[in-house]
Point group: C4
Chain length 220, copies 4
């Protein structure tokens, strides 16, 4: 059995590296003159970078939300989490693909569809983690109704990712807009229910909380 | 003497960076038309990426398993761990080599053999860590029989890696398949024996475990 | 609600990756002879690397200072922090842009201005975090006057970044010098006020501090 | 004032990323035939990779050793540590330079000298951290004699790095050999004196140590 803490730490590491590697998708334009125009022409790749950055950032917020409600981690959850991380690690690739083809004049739809498939797979992995954790009693302090309501709110995004894949075949920029809107939706309206294990402070050095520990701390 | 915790944290960092750098092996195809066909032609590099990702992921699970049973770390173990990390850091290179030559029409066998040698060296380093830790009493809560049984189950993989190196000279794709099967074998059937130090929760915020702390735990 | 600790850990990860990725901006010169001269000609890119390294290093010091005074983190702060991290992740790109165009003979001003805009956005995000945290009572142990004085000292840098953007249009090297001076200013003269939660030691193993825990600390 | 713990965590992150980025210096050879011969010809770059990997690994071991003896961190130490990290971040660049020019037929001496200067700067920064920490009473549990003896053993390496820079001008491979020997010397014979704060276990979950904590844990 593995502790949620180290799984969280490893996941944080992968998420931090993946979100930072996105910057490698931004290429310095090599021009003979008028760098400003070249940079402004690159607004579509820059927008793809921003959407991917926001998406990984929000995955991190929600990933943390879920893991902070876990009391233990079983082997299945560990592998579901690795599957989620694999979809996250692929995001810099999908973003580079999208950035390169958004104004290549051809195949922008294919690139945007690949991006959408990556996002859908990520959503599926994330949903599977939550479903597995709640059905096997790995989470604490979340009531059944709240867990179900969260699942609904979360699942609403998935058909929209599929819609964006469809929209990609019409206009890649339209699908990029839908991906951005989905990031806003997940960031603003979808919150993991229940109370985290470490409410209001960190595990190591609690701030002045409402219930100060009485004498006799933990003994191991 | 070094604490297992910081060695674990550094190893986690290296593993997280290495697993994420794998994405740099996936190149955006530069085509004039039919991106979809170009992406589908790239299924072999994609498979190599997936096998390497799963392998590093499973190394992480087992590395965590071993370190969670260590009560202390000596200098030899520290250097054996650095040797293991060196083989892990080489995996993105071996994977790129394999991905580039799998359908180059020549030298695929050499590339797959290099990949297999990397994996064998990794297995050897991992086995040496376990052997050293158990023979010097660095682990706690693992009985002799279980430690030996684990060593056997673990060691079974090594000749198969050698077999895969041989298979690589016949057909590189066959060896890739053996590498994938070995990842599944290690992921599903090889578990580090004994009880971890931090059973069922993380060190900071223990969940409701079977053995509550005797003299007044912390109250929040 | 998210704990400051994990937000800190994720931010540390992003800052550590971004500061290290700066090295990718340094290109090995490919010359037929006289490598030394080629390296010496590259002193401007090297200076840009050093300034960016110092800047991210000082962001880390101050970020740590702010987060060590937080008692809790709300959703807005989480997203302001993601915005700050986005500006940090862009620094390797801006630095590469600056390094490539500083002695390209054209467009150095544009490159230096983009660099300055990146830095200004970073300063704005950082200031917003502090303003939000103090106005919503998320920080502890900082008096009103000290918080305001810090805000002033901090804010003084922002018009200087704007000045540097202007200077960039005259001479890119001049603006690079202003960026370096600003890094020194922030590093040497701007300190987050108040007492950190974990004064004088780390959360895990407090050193012999002036105020020993009253009712029997832990003994090892 | 900053806690040693977070400074350690950030430094670990930078060291972990830098050690892993070394793999990017290994290029997949693009050949029409005989990949094996091409790989074998690349033994010098591979040796440079191995020496740099060992060097950063040993920096990590010793960095951990020093920080585990710190009771607090002042501003000067923070900036000395940033200077050290800057020399570490430069190692993948110096290694790439060395790898590219070792068998270029010219300028190998210059490349090896740059590598040596990088290593000397690193040693200087490391020595300054130790000197500052001991002279300002930031370390605990290290007696004066032991601290001085360590400084001597440590400092012996510096003239050898300078020697290697000189040797580089005669034969770059000779200097690479000296760098390798120095890594072995620092790894095997130079140990930070004194007792670490967290002897024999990690801060969070101590194993079954000789002195189990009595009732009444920490109170904050």
């Amino acid at each position: 059995m593995t502790s949620p803490a180290r799984t969280e730490a490893f996941s944080d590491g992968v998420l931090a590296v993946a979100i930072t590697l996105l910057v490698l998708d931004l290429k310095v334009p090599l021009v003979e003159s008028d760098l400003l125009a070249a940079l402004l022409r690159g607004w579509l790749p820059a927008a793809a970078f921003a959407v991917s950055f926001a998406t990984i950032g929000i995955i991190w917020v929600n990933h943390h939300g879920v893991f902070d409600r876990l009391v233990r981690v079983d082997r299945t959850l560990l592998y579901l989490n690795l599957a989620l991380l694999m979809t996250v690690v692929l995001i810099p690739f999908s973003t580079a693909l999208l950035a390169d083809y958004l104004d290549a004049g051809h195949d922008a739809g294919t690139a945007a569809a690949v991006y959408g498939l990556n996002m859908s797979a990520m959503g599926l992995a994330f949903g599977s983690i939550w479903r597995h954790a709640t059905s096997r009693g790995l989470v604490a302090g979340v009531d059944r109704m709240a867990a179900r309501a969260f699942m609904w709110r979360f699942a609403v995004g998935t058909p929209l990712y599929v819609l964006a894949v469809g929209a990609a075949l019409v206009d890649a920029r339209l699908s990029l807009f839908i991906y951005a809107a989905l990031a806003v939706y997940y960031g603003a309206f979808v919150t993991v229910p229940g109370r985290p294990r470490r409410a209001g402070g960190d595990g190591d050095a609690p701030g002045p909380g409402p219930a100060p520990p009485p004498c006799g701390g933990r003994d191991r």
